[in-house]
């Protein structure tokens, strides 16, 4: 039991990210308001970011910036174990940018839709389309 619990706690932020993905997807499907859907989309993307960053983490290690890097590093060799893994952070920098970009385009489209139908509620938009 304890081992199970320990095992569970050892991965808690993976559980968190799963929860976030589910929340975001729920919002994207169940909500009828376009902006809420967009927010849901962002939650999903953030969850992925959380997942990646968790991969890179190492308990009790420091950020991947070599101490005294600007001096000659020949004296003390760099130990990979002392620094958390940089790659996931790099990847997530990209992912963040992507999600920002997606958000921008999505908002632009939302504005266009609002211009056209005067609402962002899917049901009302559907009614407007019926009317035309």
């Amino acid at each position: 039991m304890e081992s199970l619990l320990a095992n569970f706690l050892a991965k808690y932020n993976y559980w968190v990210y799963i929860g976030l993905v589910m929340i975001g997807m729920y919002a994207m499907i169940a909500k009828r308001n376009l902006v809420k859907k967009i927010i849901g989309m962002n939650i999903v993307q953030t969850a992925v970011i959380l997942f990646y960053v968790s991969i890179g983490a190492k308990k009790g290690k420091t950020i991947p910036i070599i101490a005294h890097g600007h001096e000659d590093t020949g004296h003390h060799a760099v130990q990979a174990l002392d620094y958390i893994s940089p790659l996931p952070h790099v990847l997530m920098l990209t992912a963040i940018v992507v999600s920002v970009a997606t958000l921008g385009v999505a908002l632009a489209l939302a504005i266009k839709i609002y211009r056209q139908y005067g609402t962002l509620e899917e049901d009302e938009i559907a009614m407007r389309i019926e009317d035309q």
Binding site: M25, M28, L34, K37, M41, V44, Q45, V48, F51, Y52, I55, L87, P88, L91, T94, A95, V98, A101, T102, V105, A106, A108, L109, A110, K112, I113, Q116, I125, I129
Partner: protein, 497 residues
């Protein structure tokens, strides 16, 4: 120089994108020639690359000079060389054909339009050549973003469908990204070849299994495979004509390519076909996709919508053909990627020409078009025959491979589905031909703003491109045998029989 082809294929359009924008700020008439130049260059590079691959085999390119897995590497083999040429061709031909339409639609924003257009192409070509799983995601997103924008830029329901496209597409891409993350978690690398080396030891791990499923689901969403197809018809049918004639042929096909790439060269066939044992259900899903797509196509009276439903069915062709898991089926799927790209381009281009002249995309408004625009309709007929699968057009031969793959795999259900959809396509297209051929031309004045009695042939360059695509359909058909024996056979791992 030829050593740099893999890089240049992407870099030329990418760099051109910014120059186009700057040029358009000076004078927006510069946008088109610059784009044409860049795409032509990238097309020639792609062909050169294909030739190089045929001569010397796989071509590697280490970006920033770092060898994989540390750096990002391009790895061009027969498979992506072939698809690359197809993509570049479609992009260039469509650009040439739709010039007038684009001028008519976006005269005040030519610069942004062509910038997005060429960025989309850069993204797609990058997806095709890249050998790095994460780099693929970035390129996926660049292609997707530009696609959303292009699709959304039209009146009517386009923005709404484009927004839904964003939602679905983002979920798909995020799932793919997650899958890659899972793989990274257990292997610590992102390079496809390196993954393929390190994965087999880990096949028992649940992480790999779920990574496989997540990737597959994400890609299926992106390619509009049957249960997740809902976004596709809306997005493609409401998009502006010159855009749908670009997006419809390329995006889904490239996604299918990605699936094949991941399944064959990251998860090896041994894993994808034997251990996971999902071939059977996938093929059945494909059958459902084909049947459903065909019947949905029957149910609509709008030209572009009908064509998009046909795409849903065609996706079923390729996915099903791939999951047959034997050489014939996979060759059929790959061949159909190329053929269907050209077919869809041809049919959407002619549809664009028709719609722009008739002013409506209702099938019933197409009366008497054979008299009014004979060339366009002729090309449309050829494209239709190719989609139906009449020899010697290329559609017949890919269908041939798919069906014989089905026979070899004993999947007679798949064979039946293919034949059924051919028959339904026959009905679909001859329904249109009848209206355009029998019904006397009567013009509905004022309706759709302009006098339809003024309907005449499409602009010249459009006709030229239409004819070129039609000829391509025949050429691909005649040389199907060579394409398969020279290129596709080398693209498929030897293990598969």
């Amino acid at each position: 120089m030829s050593a740099h082809f893999p890089g240049l294929v992407i870099i030329i359009p990418l760099v051109a994108a910014f120059l186009i924008l700057i040029g358009a700020l000076l004078d927006r008439r510069l946008a088109f020639p610059l784009t044409a130049l860049a795409l032509l260059g990238s097309l020639l590079t792609a062909i050169g690359l294909l030739v190089k691959v045929l001569q010397t085999g796989v071509v590697e390119y280490h970006l920033a000079g770092w060898a994989p897995p540390v750096g990002i590497a391009y790895r061009v083999d027969h498979l992506n060389a072939l698809v690359l040429v197809a993509v570049a061709t479609v992009a260039f031909v469509n650009l040439m054909g739709t010039r007038e339409l684009v001028k008519g639609l976006f005269d005040d924003r030519l610069g942004p339009f062509y910038t997005l257009y060429i960025l989309l192409i850069a993204g797609l070509q990058g997806i095709v050549v890249t050998g790095d799983a994460f780099n693929l995601y970035v390129l996926l997103e660049i292609a997707a973003l530009t696609g959303y924008a292009l699709v959304g830029m039209s009146e009517g329901r386009a923005p709404l469908s484009s927004l839904n496209y964003i939602f679905i597409g983002t979920v798909g891409a995020s799932l793919y990204l997650l899958g890659v993350g899972y793989l990274y978690l257990v292997t610590g690398t992102l390079n496809m070849a390196d993954l393929a080396v390190r994965l087999p030891a880990l096949y028992p791990s649940k992480v790999v299994v779920s990574a496989f499923v997540i990737c597959l689901v994400g890609l299926c969403i992106k390619m509009g495979f049957f249960p997740m197809h809902a976004w596709l018809p809306n997005a493609y049918s409401h998009a502006p004509d010159p855009v749908s004639s670009l997006v419809a042929p390329l995006v889904t096909k490239v996604m299918i390519y990605v699936m094949i790439r991941m399944m064959l060269f990251v998860f090896t066939p041994a894993f994808a076909f034997d251990q996971m044992a999902i071939s059977e259900p996938m093929v059945w899903l494909a059958i459902v996709a084909i049947v459903a797509g065909s019947f949905m196509a029957l149910s609509t009276r709008r030209l572009k919508r009908m064509l998009t439903y046909i795409i849903v069915a065609e996706v079923g062709y390729m996915v099903g053909g791939f999951w047959l898991g034997n050489r014939l089926g996979i060759s059929g799927a790959i061949l159909h990627i190329v053929n269907d790209a050209i077919m869809t381009l041809c049919v959407f281009l002619s549809a664009a020409a028709i719609i722009s002249k008739v002013g409506s995309d209702a099938i019933d408004d197409m009366q008497g078009l054979f008299k009014k625009m004979p060339v366009t309709m002729g090309v449309f007929v050829v494209a239709g025959l190719s989609i139906i699968g009449v020899p010697p057009t290329c559609g017949f031969f890919s269908k041939w491979y798919l069906i014989s793959g089905a026979v070899a795999a004993g999947q007679y259900g798949f064979m039946a589905a293919l034949l059924l959809s051919s028959l339904i396509n026959l009905v679909l297209f001859f329904r249109i031909f009848e209206i355009a051929y029998f019904e006397p031309f009567h013009d509905h004045h004022g309706d759709h703003g302009h006098f339809v009695s003024a309907v005449q042939e499409a602009p010249f360059e459009m006709l030229v491109t239409l004819v070129v695509t039609a000829v391509l359909l025949f050429a691909l058909g005649i040389y199907a045998g060579d394409i398969v024996s020279q290129i596709i056979d080398h693209a498929i791992p030897v293990g598969i029989t």
